[in-house]
C-alpha cells in the first residue's frame, strides 16, 4: 500500500469511531498532510478545525520543549487530542465532548505509531 493510501486508511479508521468527528494529520507549520471527516458537514467543527490549524505550530513547539507526546484540549464544543507522530507531523483527533478520552488517547497513540511507519 502506498504511504498516501496507508495514512488515509488509518485516519478513516479513526473517524469511523462513533465519538470521533475528524482526524487530521498536520505538518507542524499548520499545513494539512491528510484528513478524514464524518460525512455530515458542521459549522462548529469547521471552527474547531481552523482553531487547530492556527494553533498546531504553537502546540507542537510547546510539546517539543516540554518533551510531551500528547496534549488534550477540552473546548466548548469538542475535545482535541494532539499526538506527536514524528518531528514534523502531529496527529489531531477531534471528538465530541462526551467522548471517552482515555480510550481515544490509546487509539490515537496506536494510529500515530502506524502512521509514522508510512512517513
Amino acid at each position: 500500500m502506498s504511504s498516501k493510501l496507508g495514512i488515509n486508511s488509518e485516519l478513516q479508521d479513526l473517524t469511523h469511531l462513533e465519538e470521533v468527528e475528524a482526524s487530521i494529520l498536520f505538518r507542524i507549520d499548520g499545513n494539512v498532510v491528510d484528513s478524514s471527516f464524518k460525512e455530515e458537514y458542521s459549522h462548529k467543527l469547521l471552527r474547531t478545525i481552523q482553531w487547530c490549524k492556527a494553533n498546531v505550530d504553537k502546540v507542537s513547539l510547546e510539546m517539543k520543549s516540554s518533551n510531551l507526546k500528547k496534549v488534550t484540549y477540552e473546548l466548548s464544543e469538542f475535545c482535541v487530542i494532539f499526538y506527536v507522530v514524528n518531528n514534523i507531523t502531529i496527529l489531531t483527533t477531534i471528538s465530541s465532548k462526551n467522548a471517552n478520552l482515555s480510550l481515544l488517547s490509546i487509539e490515537s497513540k496506536r494510529k500515530a505509531l502506524l502512521i509514522a511507519n508510512y512517513l
Binding site: 494539512v32 478524514s36 458537514y41 478545525i49 490549524k53
Partner: protein, 310 residues
Amino acid sequence: MSMINTERISSGIEGIDVLLQGGIIKNSVNSIVGCSGTGKTTFALAYLYQGLLNGDHTLYLSFEETPSKLIGEAEALGIDIRSLTNDAEDLIHLVESEKIVEFMTNILPALAQKLKHRNIKHTRIVLDPLTPILWEFPSEKEQRKVLTKIYQHLSSLGTVLQTIEEPNAFGQTDIGATETRVPIYLSDSVIHIQNLGLGGKYNRTCKIIKSRKTPHHEGIYPLNFVNGPGIVIDTSSVETVEVDPMVYDIRYQELMKKVKELSQDKDPKKRIIAQIAKNLLGEREKRDTRQNMELVEVLTDKHVLQEVRK
C-alpha cells in the same frame, strides 16, 4: 449603491440563491472575493450561462484572459456556453491592460448610454477580475471615486458581478486587505470563497459576507466543483434548526429545583401543586433528552402556564 427594486434573479450557482434567500437582487453590484484557484471565474461563467438561459442581455468584460480560453475553461466544467449561442466568443470582451483606464472612464459610460437607448431591459454584467482596475488607481480615494461612477453606470444597466483577487497565501485569508477594501465597501453583496486546504467537505468554502436589502444565511458552506453546473454550494445544513439540548436540560433542572422548593413550602396548596408537577415530570432517569425537551416546551408554554395559574 442604490438599488432600483428588490426583484431577484438567479445567480446560476446551485446553493447561492438559497443562501441569499431568493437570489441576487436585480440592478445590484455583487462581488466574488477569493484567492487564485478558488473558483471566481467559474462563478462568473456560471452567472453568464444562467443569463443566456434566461434570455438576458450579457456583457462579460475580461481584463486578463482571452474569450476562447474562458469558454474552454467553462466547457471543461460542463458549462456549455457554445450550445446556447453561435457566437460564444463575441459574448466575452477582452480589455487589454493598457486600455483599462480609458475603457473604464470613457468607453464604458458611453457603452452604457448606448445600451440604454437600445431599450435593453436587463443586462448581466461581469467584470473579471476587477483587480487590474484597482491597480491603475493606487489611492483608495481615487479608487472610490472611479468605482462609484462605474457602478452607477453599470447598475442602471443591469446586475453586476465582479471578481476580486484576495492577496493572500494559500489557506490564509484577509478579507479586509487594502486591495479589496474599497470594492467590498461599495458592493451590495459580497461572497467570499476560500480554499482552506483542509480536505474533504472542508476544503473549499463559501460565505456571504454582506448582503444589502436582503437577509442571508450566516455560516460557512462547502463549495464543490461539479461537472455540469460548474460550482455547487452544499446548503444541506441550512434547513437544520440547531437545538442545544443543554439549554433545555438546564431549564428542566431549574423547573425541578422550583418543584422541590414548592414541596417544602408550609402552604399545603403549594405542596399539592408540587406533587402534581412531580407526577407530571416523573423520574428524570426514565426519560431521554428529547422527551425532556418536549416536556419543558409544554410546561413553559405561555398558555399552559396561564391555565396552571388559574
